[in-house]
Amino acid sequence: MPLDLPSVQLGGIGPEITLTVTALVVLVADAIVGNRMWRWYLAAVASVGLVVAGALAIAAWNTSKLQLAGAIANDDFAVFVKVALAVFGILTVWVAREYVEHEAIEESEFYALVLLAVAGMMLMAAAADLIVMFLALETFSIALYVLVGSRRRSLEAQESAMKYFLLGAFSSAFFLLGIALAYGATGTTNLYSVSQGVASQGITGFLGSTPASDLGLLSLGAVLLIVGLGFKIAAVPFHMWTPDAYQGAPSPVTGFMAAATKIAAFAAILRLFDAILFPLRWDWRPLVIGIAIVTMIAGSVAAIVQEDVKRMLAYSSIAHAGFVLTGVIAANDQGVSGALFYLATYGLTVVGAFAVIAVLAGRDERRVRLTDYKGLFYDHPLLAGALTLFMLSLGGVPVTSGFIGKLLVFGAAVNAGYAWVSVIGVLASSVAMFFYLRVMVVMYMQEGDEARPASSVGSLAGGVIALCAAATVFFGLAWGPLFEVAQKATFFAGG
């Protein structure tokens, strides 16, 4: 019996391969060339790798297929997420360029880890098999554990890495248990054969006739999968790591986590729900609604007394996870596209925000408290303006992309008959607005106490901030095209 190898279409994982290779190139180049070259060359190489990966991902647009023995689904959904991830990766690399220098972080390894993390996240977005999803999750998680702790001079950074790691491993075990139970229920870990299995073996009918039966292994497994992914998106009550990790991590990494981890994990959640759980939607929706509500409220409420900007944005990211979940519970194409739009634009905004924070934080991230931002508008009007824009976008004020994202996810929920969840969502976001406004209060309405050491804004970081600001406005005004793309980015076999 010859070995029945699947047709190995490496194109299906082209972006991931490209990124891995680039990561290795960056490492090797640094080892060989060292500091003798143009200061930006590592960043340039990494960026090229990310651009190529993004381009390869785009090439798969509109070709939706399951590849590599059904292990990955290169549908438009995956493409959308992958492109977004590539963009976040590039922006992170750029923001980090100057940052790693003054924080004495090994540049090549930093980039390599970012690239590998993006690779893992891309794999996650496309994963059509639970085990692939698990491996991808672990891949980028491990990269992030290290990145979070990469500011090794700082005990906080180490602490946050430790906490993130321990809790991450803990939650992975639950996720894995979830996979095991799903496997037990269906005999496979493949999402699409799971769903086909559900259909073909008549289990659906069986479920339909006795609504309790799907409450067995599969729903227990599904709950644990939600737990594992909920940990990654920082849904309450699995969010406890978030403030600490966000606070301790280097600001560019925090931005990266907020943007990229979130979209990758949400991609998995959306795919999971789309593939396995939509047939069972009456089972899981109350749970997710509960999580969404708690998350929105807790994230918003907890943030308002924070004094550390990064920590505050960490809570804000928790709240945002709740908002996106509002789109998820709609469980329709509108919800999916809304969530995608939300995540993509939120990512751009939050990367920009953390870029500003990174620039202002200075050596050893000493100035990250809200009081350090006093009177910023008068010293750095452009930085303050950009940060204002990001805060407004996070708050969901019109003419920024954040508003459109909220509009779309809340709209989806309204359309799906969950207007009351949306109402809770908007109330929570009003609470959340308070702390975004606080940032503005500090920047504009209070005088700086002491002479602020002038922060030097590197051209790359400055470029990122400008780009993100421009994107925030652009997708707040001319959001039609991106929305259209997000609408098309539906699932291979979904619905």
């Binding site: 004020v397 019109p398 509009l407 209070q446 039609g480 609408q487």
Partner: protein, 504 residues
């Protein structure tokens, strides 16, 4: 130039001006001031051209322009004005140069100040001219941000508190409206659209109407504001810089009333009808309560702020009584209140500029040292308490007579508000301007200067003009107002089956 193009120019000239001001050199504040003045005056002149082109006697939207914006989501850039919004646009463009003049005394951070002020104008004009509801919402919220900064950066002692309160209060309301807008758009049949005119004919079941009405109402009631959602107002008005107070009282509050007229009633007529008693009760509570609270205020600006609560109560009363007199009077009163309360804030600001206090107890006998300002204050005050022959009377009378035509007894407490208005304003006038001068600082104040004349004279002239000859105003308002009144009076043709069909 076609009116439609002109309208859009009017909307966006201030924004262009804001950018222009933002780009000016930092060390030349006078340039920024001048530019702001020129821009606002130009906007006003352009809006006069709109007024001239406006066809009197037509109820529908005029100067309508439509551009595709986000066709994927049914959003269009659609603007146009009718007899109701026309005057709101005019009020905005009229008050704006006055606000700029009043801001002449701003000396710190001049550039951003005027940039925000101009951006605010675009937002306000947009609110009044948007036909697409998405666009409306965008403008609606866009107004908040510049105002937030104006209060928070250039306000007085408790400015940050006030700015926060203002923004959060309004935001809660408007986000609820956003949900309602979305629900409405999704409820409509056919392709997704946010065009107000198409959504007007959306058949909705009564229960849906109720919920959506409340969603819109949440936003507008905060903005108006109706008691008990009013407590942001005294703080915001008191702490805002003069121009901010003028814009808040003059225009922003009108956005709430405008929203009720434009959206809440015509979109959900059955629910609106059902809520009429509640609305009227709230309005009357506002009239009496606002006046009562105003009587004992110790801060002059706060007193004027509370007077707005009472006045807006009148406006809401007029809007909901369901008679053409009430509605037209309400809309005219929106204009009147913008003028007279705007002028009162200008005056309080002028006095503050001289004495750097707003505490009534600090004043006394000012009519001696600044007789002309005192005279103008008295004049505006008389307009505010509805002295016949001045503008306030026309509006209030129409509202009350309109109310009486349908609801005989409601008019009694409402009309009593006029008595109360006289009490709080006259008492304040007495304490501030009459009696002996008790404090030395008050003895040597400069009287009105040329800038203040330029800023107050137009208001005074309009106050008289509207009071004596309101016909040009009423004639343009009436047809559009009549349509809204129609929807409030006649049962819409929604049948049980069609509404049931839409429920998922």
């Amino acid at each position: 130039m076609s009116g439609a193009v002109l309208l859009n120019i009017v909307i966006f000239v201030p924004l262009a001006g804001a950018i222009l001001v933002g780009l000016m050199p930092k060390n030349r504040p006078e340039l920024a001031r001048l530019a702001a003045l020129v821009v606002t005056v130009v906007t006003f002149v352009l809006s006069i051209a709109l007024l001239v082109q406006f066809k009197t006697g037509e109820a529908g939207f005029q100067f309508v322009s439509h551009r595709r914006w986000i066709p994927q989501f049914g959003v269009g850039y659609t603007t146009g004005i009718d007899g109701i919004s026309l005057w709101m646009v005019m009020l905005t463009t009229f008050l704006m140069p006055l606000g700029v003049l009043a801001s002449w005394t701003i000396t710190s951070r001049v550039k951003p100040y005027f940039a925000f002020l101009l951006a605010l104008e675009t937002g306000m004009l947009g609110v009044f001219s948007a036909i697409d509801m998405f666009l409306f919402y965008v403008f609606w919220e866009a107004v908040l941000i510049p105002m937030y900064f104006l209060i928070g950066m250039w306000g007085y002692e408790r400015r940050i508190y006030a700015a926060m309160k203002f923004l959060l209060f309004t935001l809660v309301g408007s986000l609820l409206m956003l949900i309602a807008i979305l629900a409405l758009a999704f409820a409509a049949r056919g392709p997704l659209t946010f065009d107000y005119r198409s959504l007007l004919s959306t058949p909705l079941s009564l229960s849906t109407q109720r919920l959506l009405f409340l969603g819109f109402f949440a936003s507008f009631a905060v903005k108006v504001p109706l008691v008990p959602l009013h407590t942001w107002l005294p703080d915001a008005h008191t702490e805002a810089p003069t121009a901010g107070s003028v814009m808040l009282a003059g225009v922003l509050l009108k956005m709430g009333a405008y929203g009720l007229i434009r959206f809440a009633i015509p979109l959900f007529p059955d629910a609106a009808r059902e809520f009429v008693p509640l609305m009227m009760a709230l309005a009357i509570i506002g009239i009496v309560y606002g006046a009562l609270v105003a009587i004992v205020q110790r801060d002059l600006k706060r007193l004027v702020a509370y007077s707005s609560v009472a006045h807006l109560g009148f406006i809401v009363l007029g809007i909901f009584v369901g008679t053409i007199q009430g509605m037209t009077g309400g809309i005219l009163q929106m204009l009147n209140h913008g003028l007279s309360t705007g002028a009162l804030f200008l005056l309080v600001g002028a006095i503050y500029d001289r004495r750097h206090t707003r505490q009534i107890a600090e004043f006394g006998g000012l009519a001696r040292s600044i007789p002309i300002l005192a005279g103008i204050f008295l004049f505006v005050l008389l307009s505010s308490i509805g002295l016949p022959g001045l503008n306030g009377f026309v509006g209030e009378f129409l509202i009350l007579v309109g109310t009486f035509f349908r609801y005989r007894w409601w008019v009694v407490p409402a009309a009593f508000g006029i008595v109360l208005a006289a009490i709080y304003l006259l008492w304040a006038y007495q304490r501030v301007f009459q009696g002996e001068i008790t404090r030395e600082e008050n003895r040597t104040l400069r009287d009105i200067n040329l800038r203040e004349v330029a800023m107050l004279a137009p208001v005074v002239a309009l106050i008289v003009f509207i009071g004596v000859y309101p016909k040009p105003f009423l004639d343009r308002i009436e047809p559009s107002a009549a349509r809204v009144v129609q929807t409030l009076r006649h049962t819409s043709v929604v049948s049980g089956s069609s509404s049931a069909a839409r429920v998922p």
